[in-house]
């Protein structure tokens, strides 16, 4: 018993008088000035009760690094079905395919930042929204190697969007490259699960409505040469038979170029443009 008491006292003393640490300074990293634009693909869902946290995190990131980040909300399969109070169903084939393409994630919300490997998860997806900002900042610290110029023409009668893309490598880039084109819509007010409640008037932003390319992207080119411009044209007709959705005023086209190798699918540059300028 004496031993126990002595030991307990030593432990209690250890707890009470443990060494005091030198406090950590919480500071922001240095982000160089450049025209690099980072892509966040967020895996989310209307029935995902943790996902409003993901949306708030994206808002925070877009506000901190205005003009340097573009976001896409992928409503695929897992917890993406409408809530009992929902008006809309945001799931679509391309979103489901894209969600399935991002393997290894364990839950929602998850996000991929430039499809680069996250050092803490070891995957190209990170399921902790608190770490998305640092992922974006790591990407913004990397060299700016490409420009993407976009131009859209929208025909209000036919609802056709014509997209003109110019990809300009700023350095020689060996390897294979893909291009992905997303159509997103913001400002949709609908129900979203949030913890133990459902928010009936949640404003959804950057909802992936469809893609003009395959979910994994179309082939862009191989071994890109510095300043050798690659031009691409795409067209898409916005559906008119879905009440409340596909509002061209609130839609954006997002384009990104990524590496296409078995071990590296990272994004080099992203760009966005409104359907109606």
């Amino acid at each position: 018993m004496t031993h126990t008491l002595k030991f307990s006292l030593i432990m209690a003393a250890g707890l009470l008088f443990s060494c005091k640490e030198i406090p950590i300074t919480i500071s922001d990293p240095f982000i160089p000035e450049s025209d690099r634009v980072v892509l966040i693909e967020e895996l989310t869902g209307a029935s995902c009760s943790n996902c409003p946290k993901g949306s708030a995190t994206i808002d925070n990131i877009l506000s901190r690094h205005e003009g340097k980040v573009v976001a896409i909300g992928v409503h695929g399969k897992f917890l993406s079905y409408p809530t009992p109070k929902s008006k809309y169903d945001f799931r679509n084939q391309k979103a489901k395919e894209l969600e399935a393409w991002f393997t290894g994630w364990q839950g929602k919300p998850s996000a991929s930042v430039n499809r680069s490997v996250d050092p803490s998860s070891g995957l190209i997806v990170q399921d902790n929204p608190d770490l998305w900002l640092s992922g974006v900042e790591r990407e913004l610290q990397k060299p700016h190697v490409m420009n993407i110029l976009l131009d859209t023409k929208y025909n209000t009668d036919t609802r056709q969007v014509d997209l003109e893309i110019a990809v300009i490598p700023l350095t020689d880039l060996p390897g294979n490259y893909n291009i992905s084109i997303y159509l997103t819509e913001s400002g949709i007010v609908d129900a979203q699960a949030d913890g133990t409640v459902i928010i009936e008037n949640f404003t959804f932003k950057h909802v992936l409505m469809d893609m003009m390319t395959k979910h994994s992207g179309d082939v862009l080119a191989t071994d890109l040469e510095k300043n050798k411009v690659i031009k691409k044209n795409y067209s898409y007709t916005l559906p008119s038979n879905v009440p409340g959705l596909w509002n061209a005023q609130n839609m954006e086209v997002i384009v990104m170029v990524s590496r296409s190798s078995p071990t590296d699918v990272s994004v080099l540059q992203a760009a966005s443009v409104h359907v109606i300028k």
């Binding site: 209690a12 995902c48 399935a100 839950g107």
Partner: protein, 543 residues
């Protein structure tokens, strides 16, 4: 890596040394053949889409010679869905090695070690294969026996993470003893213990914490500490048929993710954030047995006791400790369907278990558990009854009823869903035709208006001792509430057919299985446990 090779080489050398020491070991393998069935959502994973096969194998070998024990374990995961149920994981290597040497009163161990302090509230290094948990301590451990009844143990190391290790550091100590006094025929015994664990967050893990805190508004920010200290004191008092176990554990200010905490955002608030707070667990268990009566009363209070090697980890990853659940661990399919995970942020739990043997042939068990948050919100409640009647050695009837209230909002992070309330009557009938042939049948019905709706479950198991057992079972959604992948609410049958073969210490199981899907959430992240459709083979043996 060199150490692993040395251990394997040592094992090989000892294996050819005749007549010295003893070998022991175990082997287990799982083989899953995935058969896509979109009707029950068994699809859209790499295994269903293109791999079709997944499995795991573990081979453990131990060698003891005099006061030395060494051992190793080969682990293989081959397109396995254990680590992430929606994904495929492959990895092959030495999952464990260790060496242990006793020198008089001292015992020295090194390698991947399993141990715990008290009930595990502040430290438990353990392995649970079905959940891909292998929290072995990779380090060194010393145990010193002062006497036959007093022992002190100290350790330091890192926590295992699949085939690598987490970067944070752990160290700890434990002192345990035993007293006996009073009458020699019915003495009063005390088995006191005390333990301490210190955890230091690595610089790279702290960088993740700082990265997260940078995104927080000032109101939610804090200056994070690398070090956390936890201590526990416990004791078992026994007198005649009475046994009282008590434990109190405290943790100094520690960083952890609280999935229920309100976080201030640029606009509005969200739920879930990192916090830095101290925590505590208080636990007591009183059991009493006298002739035909057995009584157990338990109580546990948990406050902010999420203890991980890296605060950035979620779900089952990086847990340093283990919090014992107080509810009954049910085995029947439907009585085990709504099972509460021990809550580490806020939980106040009570349980009572009474067993009474009326005669040689008739016995009864009543179990009650009640779990709320410290603030008083209902989490779980269960009343379970069981009556067992044995007729000679010819047949046995086990029957009872279970009432459950289960908070899906908290345990599964579902929004605006009502408490799940179930009533499950069940019957288990075992009939012996002769000394070899036995038939066991199970029938259970779950009546509920929530979640998936009501279920019916039936099982028949015919055993031909000592080699064979054949089984067929079905789970049927009699009053379905949820739509399937086609958006239709359908009555679905989930059948299982199986055969088990025993040979000496070997057990071979082959089953055709269709299993309903579910969502499990913890730490603010939801995890899908997908439906299963396919064939499962398991083989396990010891030698």
């Amino acid at each position: 890596m060199k150490i692993k090779f040395t251990i394997i080489a040592l094992l090989a050398v000892f294996s050819v040394t005749k007549g010295q020491g003893t070998f022991s070991g175990a082997f287990e393998t799982n083989v899953n053949v995935f058969l896509r069935d979109s009707a029950i959502n068994a699809f859209n994973t790499p295994q269903y889409d293109r791999q079709f096969y997944g499995g795991e194998s573990w081979l453990s070998i131990n060698y003891s010679y005099k006061d030395l024990t060494i051992g190793g374990r080969f682990d293989m995961f081959n397109n396995s869905n254990l680590r992430v149920p929606t994904d495929s994981y492959s990895g092959i290597g030495i999952g464990r090695w260790y060496a242990k040497k006793s020198i008089n009163k001292l015992e020295i161990s090194a390698g991947y070690l399993y141990d715990q302090i008290g009930s595990g509230f502040i430290f438990k290094a353990f392995e649970t294969r079905p959940l891909f948990i292998d929290n072995a301590l990779y380090g060194a451990m010393l145990k010193y026996n002062f006497s036959d009844t007093w022992q002190i143990m100290g350790f330091a190391g890192k926590q295992k993470n699949a085939f690598s290790n987490y970067t944070g550091n752990l160290k700890g100590a434990r002192l345990e003893g035993f007293f006996s006094f009073g009458n020699e025929e019915s003495p009063v015994t005390l088995a006191p213990g005390a333990g301490f664990v210190g955890r230091t967050i690595s610089d790279e893990n702290m960088a993740g914490v700082v990265d997260a805190l940078r995104t927080y508004q000032d109101v939610d920010r804090f200056i994070p500490n690398h070090n956390t200290y936890s201590g526990t004191i416990y004791n078992t008092l026994a007198y005649k048929g009475l046994r009282l176990y008590t434990e109190a554990a405290l943790k100094s200010s520690d960083i952890f993710y609280n999935p229920f905490a309100v976080k201030t955002e640029l606009v509005g608030t969200t739920v879930g954030k990192l916090e830095q707070k101290s925590g505590s667990v208080l636990y007591g268990s009183l059991s009493y047995t006298k002739s035909k009566l057995g009584l157990t009363l338990e109580a546990k209070r948990t406050s902010n006791f999420n203890f991980r090697i890296d605060p950035n980890q979620r779900l089952l990853r990086g847990l340093v400790n283990y919090l014992t659940p107080l509810n009954r661990q049910n085995t029947y399919r439907l009585t085990a369907r709504y099972n509460p995970a021990a809550q580490d942020i806020s939980e106040l739990a009570f349980a009572a278990d009474v067993r009474y043997k009326f005669s040689k042939s008739l016995s009864a068990n009543v179990n009650f558990s009640d779990i709320k948050t410290i603030e008083g919100d209902r989490l779980f409640q269960e009343l379970f009854t069981e009556l067992i009647y044995k007729y000679k050695r010819k047949w046995q009837l086990t029957s009872g009823i279970q009432f459950v209230t289960y908070n899906q909002e908290i345990y599964e992070m579902k929004s605006e869903v009502p408490l799940v309330k179930t009533v499950v009557p069940y019957v288990d009938f075992l009939y012996r035709f002769d000394s070899k042939n036995t038939l066991r049948t199970e029938f259970q019905y779950m009546d509920t208006k929530q979640d998936f709706g009501s279920w019916l479950f039936g099982l028949a198991e015919y055993s031909i001792a000592p080699k064979w057992s054949f089984e067929a079972s079905g789970m049927y959604n009699t009053h379905p509430k949820k739509a399937n992948s086609k958006g239709e609410i359908e009555k679905t049958l989930y059948p299982t057919l199986g055969v088990v073969f025993y040979h000496e210490a070997q057990r071979y199981t082959l089953r055709y299985v269709k299993q309903v899907e579910g969502v499990v959430c913890s730490g603010g992240i939801c995890r899908l446990e997908p439906a299963f459709s396919g064939i499962r083979f398991n083989m396990a043996t010891t030698f």
